[in-house]
Amino acid sequence: MVVDLKVEKVSKVFGTFKAVDEVSFEVVSGNFFSILGPSGCGKTTLLRMIAGFLEPTEGQIYIRQKLVNGIPPNQRPVNLVFQNLALFPMMNVFENIAFGLKRRKVEKKVIEAKVKDILARVGLSGFEKKKINELSGGQKQRVAIARALVLEPSVLLLDEPLGALDLKLREQMKVELKKLQAEVGTTFVYITHDQSEALVMSDFVAVMNKGRFEQIDTPQNLYRSPKTAFVAKFVGDNNALEGEMLKKEGEMVLVSAYGHEFWVRAGSYRLGKKISVFIRPESFLLEPEENLSKVNRLKVKIKDILFDGANSKLLCLLPAGPEIMVALPQNKKFAHLKPGDDLNIGWFYEDSLAFS
């Protein structure tokens, strides 16, 4: 396994503010690696350090085993797809894509062939002479990616490139981008605040918060076994119940909350302390059968039904407790539910997680 990008204990300090705090990770060649975090978490700073626009205050960055600290951006074997794409408006599509090749003094014939080839790859054959402002949002996107890919970088960095697109197009581009990456085999490092983008496309996702990595994992593991409360809250929808921890038995802890007692899988905790229990909306069972074991049970009142097709949810009220979101399967069985009804819900012990 070849490691294309290695970041070792990298920090960046602006004045007294620590934007990136001792971050380390490795990206294996050919992987799609995402860095996911809310705005202001330091992910853009990290990306700019990899691209060479910023120098780390501390730590080392290696690209293909070569230390790149101090090397200016125009000499690093990485290319960046900018958040606003930064296509040159005074040039046409061909000139934009050929720009980097021309700087490398590649032969004219080779440039033409390469541009033609990469345009075909991104599905824009014959667009060479188009002006940038004649392109649609999705086409601009593809030109920006083609412009970077044509240089065959060791690592392609992408800074929230789908942010400016509307929802429908974004869904479509997600799939396209994933396919393109699989096809060209280039290592992608993708930055986003949109968890769905990260989960759909990535081989590995790093969740970043306040300058630190909370967890690096596959999308499935992030979703199923978040290691911190932040990850549990940030990745996917989650209900959070506040309670107190009573005792521990193996992997499970007993939690008391709002006059109920639950068995919950332990994340990180301290005995006798306040604790947050996370349960995903789709983990709830509606009207669970009496004979099921290892199930926590609750009686709630339906406050509202939030209809959103396959994503429909029930907004339920726990007596003396918070609102709880429960996934509502769109089938006949629960079509009779209406606001004001009482409802029994429950969930398997291992489908909930506790963090202090």
Partner: protein, 284 residues
């Protein structure tokens, strides 16, 4: 009050009358100057004595048209030379100034910027005499101490160029800065990321982006130089520029050949202004 609000008939009539009078005031002197260039008379005045192109084409000896008036032709050529040199240097240094103030950070930047604006509030006459004094002082110094007689420092072509350059550059800085402010600097980062060095970035990206404002400010610099009088007055040597030469003629009595020159200047500057306007509209 404004177009969307109701207003009385007399308000709008009086306002329009005022505007019409204003435009008459604006154009009367120019129109009359142009018309009298074609009057078949020895004086630039009415009555109208018929249409004639004498003041453009006559070869003498009574009437000498502008195309055969070697004195005025020479001064036109001097003005064109001056304007070309001045606009070239102002454009180069002014663009550097715009880059310096928009993209670099250094100590005393604010102070240097204030100094850049200073020529806007210094009367042209003062600029002219200061430069005359300084270059004369330097010339005397060089002659006394080294025995060099530097003719460049005496009033003449190069001193006029320096004088005009000193304030026209400020205008170039302002015009180019205004466009550079709107420049998206991630384009520069993108070019760097694609392997360009700093000079390639400036050449391929930034200057290409600035092109409309460079053309525009170059044209303005040319016109400002071509028609400058106040600063030039004190710096001019034995070869007067056109405005100075015309002034000398107007002061000592005039012939319609001045109208002919004025007509050509009006046509020329209007054309240049329109071209400039066309380019600045295109960039929007």
């Amino acid at each position: 009050m404004i177009r969307t609000l109701p207003h009385s008939k007399s308000y709008s009539f009086l306002f329009k009358l005022y505007i019409v009078l204003f435009y008459i005031f604006l154009f009367a002197p120019l129109l009359i100057t142009c018309v009298l260039a074609f009057n078949n008379s020895d004086f630039p005045s009415l009555p109208w004595k018929g249409f004639s192109l004498d003041w453009f084409l006559a070869k003498g000896p009574d009437r000498v048209g502008i195309f055969y008036d070697s004195n005025n032709l020479r001064s036109i050529w001097v003005s064109i030379k001056t304007a070309l040199v001045v606009s070239f240097f102002s454009l180069v240094v002014g663009t550097m100034g715009a880059f310096l103030f928009e993209q670099e950070n250094f100590r005393f930047k604010q102070a240097l910027y204030m100094l850049t604006l200073a020529p806007l509030v210094i009367p042209g006459v003062i600029l002219g005499i200061s430069i005359l004094l300084a270059s004369n002082g330097l010339g005397v110094f060089l002659e006394n101490h080294f025995g060099w007689d530097v003719s460049l420092l005496a009033p003449g072509f190069w001193l006029v160029v320096l004088g005009q350059f000193s304030f026209i550059t400020t205008f170039v800085v302002l015009v180019v800065s205004a466009r550079l402010k709107k420049f998206d600097r991630t384009l520069e980062e993108a070019a760097l990321n694609l392997g360009a060095n700093r000079w390639q970035v400036i050449w391929h990206i930034t200057l290409r982006y600035l092109k409309p404002s460079l053309i525009g400010s170059g044209a303005v610099a040319f016109l400002m130089s071509f028609e400058n009088f106040n600063t030039t007055l004190f710096l001019v040597g034995s070869e007067p520029t056109l405005p100075i030469n015309l002034y000398l003629q107007v002061r000592d009595g005039s012939t319609p050949v001045i109208n002919a020159i004025s007509f050509l200047m009006i046509v020329f500057t209007s054309t240049l202004a329109l071209i400039n306007l066309y380019f600045s509209h295109k960039k929007e």
